[in-house]
């Protein structure tokens, strides 16, 4: 008889799917919203319990989906890291939905709001599945659910811009999942397994046979490239700024905070459970990820500096932040992976905070989206202003905020023993340049929103009385607190992550 809490990952996934299906019958957007929030809260509690139990016992468990164990049936598996990440995802989704509520009600027609929440439910379910899955093909199926749901929440606003952004997003995503599935098929052809616990020994055995060097490198590359396309790693990021920049606030927050991370978690699992990090490093895939990550950090920041549109600027900053995660993964060490996971958590709170508060600032400036017109918006809506300031400073890397800890941990991982010198130089210089560029565009933006007076062109004053709702305030306060807490008390969390990477 297994422990009861081991059922919880399975409950999370099915709660999400069931809520989505039931929501079809609820025509009222408000009730659908309550149901979604309730579901997310329940799942957060369930994952929290799993996290507490597994972290206390320092163990992980696998859960056969049905009567048939590993090589025959599907399996879920959870340790502290998976449970923690799924809890963070739930919380971030709740805060994003609360914070973006006003925009959402404005952007989406009342009769179609329930459809939006269906997408949110299934998005949550697919994220849980990606967190907990122990099977490559299940990973593929839930990647596809994730893709449709993510594309739909972009297009929910239903303007020409967003539909165009959606189809570009859809096509790039499909390229990504196609390449990923081809990699998985090759893996199946040469190993005969799809479940990760059986893949690991099979792949290790193949590594000793030089005849398979070439296919192994190829399929590892394909799986990584497929997931990188979907998580917008640097040369494949072209879809991201328009998709994240033009969607409604809640969608932007969820997409950049959570959806990008789901694919990266699957990649981490592939790195740790199908291959080992050392094998990924020896195939050369790690170095490629590292270089691309460093490229993304610089490139994303440079384009963010040039972008006048506030939300798109933040979206470009996401490109850079995803680069940080890949930089950590590319080091192929335990510390690097722990740093990447910490960055996932830190960014999951910081970026939605920025998007939600920018949404508030934009509302306070008469729906003008250019940064120039946001002048003085922080005074008109102090709550949003404070949120933006905290988020921006965290991105710049001010000590005691989450972004600073990320840079610190990544730097430490890059300086550790056994890292080749060129990787060290690339990583450290990328971190330095990227921090500098972040300061270059976030600080002026922060100054701009606190400046006195109102921006006016041709005598038109773009100021607007904006009274933030309670849910907006709650969301900004919670996410702001999370960023500060992650910055101040990061030490135990990082220790826990480093310890739990071996349990992945």
């Amino acid at each position: 008889m297994r422990l009861f809490y081991e059922n919880f990952p399975f409950f999370c996934v099915f709660l999400g799917l069931l809520c989505g299906i039931v929501t079809t019958l609820i025509r009222d957007g408000k009730k659908a919203r309550y149901l979604t929030l309730l579901m997310l809260a329940v799942c957060a509690v369930l994952s929290g319990v799993v996290f507490a139990e597994t972290a206390r016992a320092g163990r992980c468990f696998s859960y056969a989906m049905g009567a048939f164990p590993a090589p025959w049936g599907n399996e879920l598996r959870s340790g502290p890291i998976e449970a923690l990440l799924s809890m963070v995802f739930c919380l971030v989704m709740i805060f994003s939905l609360l914070g973006g509520k006003a925009d959402l009600e404005e952007d989406i027609l009342p009769e179609k709001q329930n459809l939006y929440y269906i997408m949110m439910d299934l998005l949550a379910a697919s994220l849980f599945a990606l967190c907990f899955t122990n099977d490559m093909f299940t990973g593929y199926v839930f990647i596809e659910i994730n893709t449709i749901a993510a594309c739909s929440i972009v297009m929910a606003k239903d303007s020409g811009q967003t539909i165009l952004a959606t189809i570009r997003y859809l096509i790039m995503s499909l390229v990504g999942s196609g390449v990923f599935l081809f990699g998985v098929s090759m893996l199946y052809t040469i190993t005969g397994h799809l479940l990760m616990p059986n893949l690991l020994p099979a792949v290790t055995k193949l590594f000793s046979n030089p005849a398979y060097d070439y296919p192994l490198a190829m399929l590892a590359g394909m799986i990584c490239v497929g997931l990188a396309v979907k998580s917008a790693l640097f040369p494949f990021h072209t879809w991201l700024p328009t998709a994240h920049g033009s969607a409604t606030t809640a969608s932007s927050a969820v997409l950049s905070g959570v959806v990008l991370k789901g694919y990266i978690i699957l990649l981490i699992k592939v790195m740790c459970r199908v291959f080992t990090p050392a094998e990924i490093g020896s195939l050369g895939v790690g170095s490629v990820l590292l270089v691309l990550g460093a490229g993304a950090m610089v490139y994303g920041s440079v384009w963010a500096v040039r972008e006048p549109h506030a939300k798109r600027m933040i979206a470009y900053s996401s490109v850079a932040q995803v680069g940080y995660i890949y930089l950590g993964l590319g080091l192929c060490t335990t510390m690097g992976i722990a740093a990447a996971i910490f960055q996932i958590i830190a960014h999951a709170f910081t970026k939605p905070l920025l998007f939600v508060s920018t949404g508030g600032l934009i509302d306070a400036s008469g729906h003008q989206k250019k940064l120039y017109f946001l002048r003085g918006a922080g005074r008109r809506c102090p709550m949003a202003g404070v949120g933006f300031t905290i988020g921006g400073l965290s991105m710049v890397g001010l000590p005691l905020l989450a972004g600073f800890v990320t840079k610190l941990v990544l730097g430490r991982a890059a300086l550790a023993e056994g890292i080749p010198q060129w990787q060290m130089i690339v990583a450290l210089s990328a971190i330095a340049i990227s921090s500098l560029l972040n300061a270059w565009y976030y600080l002026p933006a922060i100054v701009q929103i606190w400046k006195g007076g109102e921006a006016d062109t041709d005598g038109v004053v773009y100021s607007h009385e904006f009274v933030p709702s309670l849910s907006f305030k709650a969301a900004v306060v919670c996410m702001g607190l999370a960023v500060i807490l992650l910055g101040c008390f990061a030490h135990p969390l990082i220790e826990l992550l480093t310890k739990s990477v071996s349990l992945l």
Binding site: L18, T24, G66, L115, M119, V141, I145, I148, P235, R306
Partner: protein, 306 residues
């Protein structure tokens, strides 16, 4: 060059049977070339998407062909290193497939081994896949359902005129043929659906055949006829009911299996129609859902309403 008659007819049909408007789709295929002086939309240079002037377009083409050739060669080399096709000693022929084949019938109960795998051994995947289909239908509804944002008055008028045209030009022969064929199609669809655990087929194939039958019915007899037995409410009730039935069955199987509890679903005698535990009800549920979804795709694409 003379185009065959059936092709012209098909072409006309795609134009909505409007004889005056049979102009080939020059507008669709040959849009005005982008002018060089216009700034491309991207604020950043796009590596994969070539936009811009004529030189840029040629370069893009060369780049495209070159990169495809390189990628194809690399992939071909990979194929050369893969194990030989159809060999008995290949990796996929291992203990996993051995158990599926040797014990599948006893453990799960269906003689169609593929059905065993997709509905029981890997039932979670397949449930996810049904959810993809459900999501696809929801996304299409979100995009194409007629509302105040996506439809202008002119669009509505066009839709109405299209319906009117359909009604006027409805083919008598089609109606008669359909009346004869419909029972056969329905029978075939139901057979494929309910025999999924004994012979090739199952919920997805059978469901799409039933969906196709609904589509044919609408084409032959008109929207009103189909609406009289298959409207919004029926659609939602059937789809949600089927998915929830599926979810309950699969949840039960997973929960019971994972916790080592006894499974009370009888397996029956392998090879008979009432056997294989949860497989038959799941196949029916999947079939209903697929049929609804396919018909929904059709109607929302055609007129933005069910």
């Amino acid at each position: 060059m003379k185009t065959p008659l059936w092709y012209q007819k098909l072409l006309r049909w795609t134009e909505g049977d409007e004889p005056g408007l049979a102009e080939p789709a020059a507008h669709v295929e040959n849009p005005p070339q982008p002018r060089a002086e216009e700034t491309p939309y991207e604020s950043g240079p796009s590596l994969l998407q070539g936009a811009g002037g004529p030189i840029n377009r040629v370069l893009t083409k060369v780049f495209a062909i070159f990169s495809c050739a390189v990628f194809a060669l690399v992939m071909l080399a990979t194929v050369a290193y893969l194990p030989r096709f159809g060999d008995q000693g290949n990796a996929p022929v291992n203990e996993t497939s051995r158990r599926y084949i040797e014990q599948g019938v006893q453990e799960v109960g269906a003689t169609n081994l593929v059905t065993n795998i997709i509905l029981v051994y890997r039932g979670f995947d397949t449930y996810g896949e049904s959810c993809v289909l459900f999501l696809g239908a929801t996304a299409v509804i979100m995009l194409l359902e007629v509302d105040s944002k996506n439809t202008t008055r002119r669009d509505r008028a066009l839709l109405r005129r299209g319906d009117e045209l359909d009604r006027i030009t409805r083919n008598q022969i089609l109606g008669h043929v359909t009346r004869v064929l419909m029972p056969v199609i329905l029978l075939y669809g139901l057979y494929i659906l309910c025999n999924g655990h004994l012979s090739p087929g199952g919920g997805f194939a059978g469901g799409s055949i039933l969906g196709g039958a609904l589509i044919l019915c609408e084409n032959a007899f008109g929207v009103e006829k189909v609406r009289s037995f298959f409207n919004h409410h029926v659609y939602h009730a059937v789809k949600v009911g089927a998915l929830i039935l599926y979810a309950i069955l699969i949840c039960y199987t997973i929960y019971v299996g994972a916790n080592g509890l006894p499974n009370i679903m009888p397996l029956g005698r392998p090879g008979s129609i009432l056997s294989a535990g949860i497989i038959l009800p799941i196949n029916v549920a999947v079939g209903l859902e697929v049929a609804c979804t396919m018909y929904a795709f059709y109607t929302y694409f055609g007129r933005g309403d069910l």
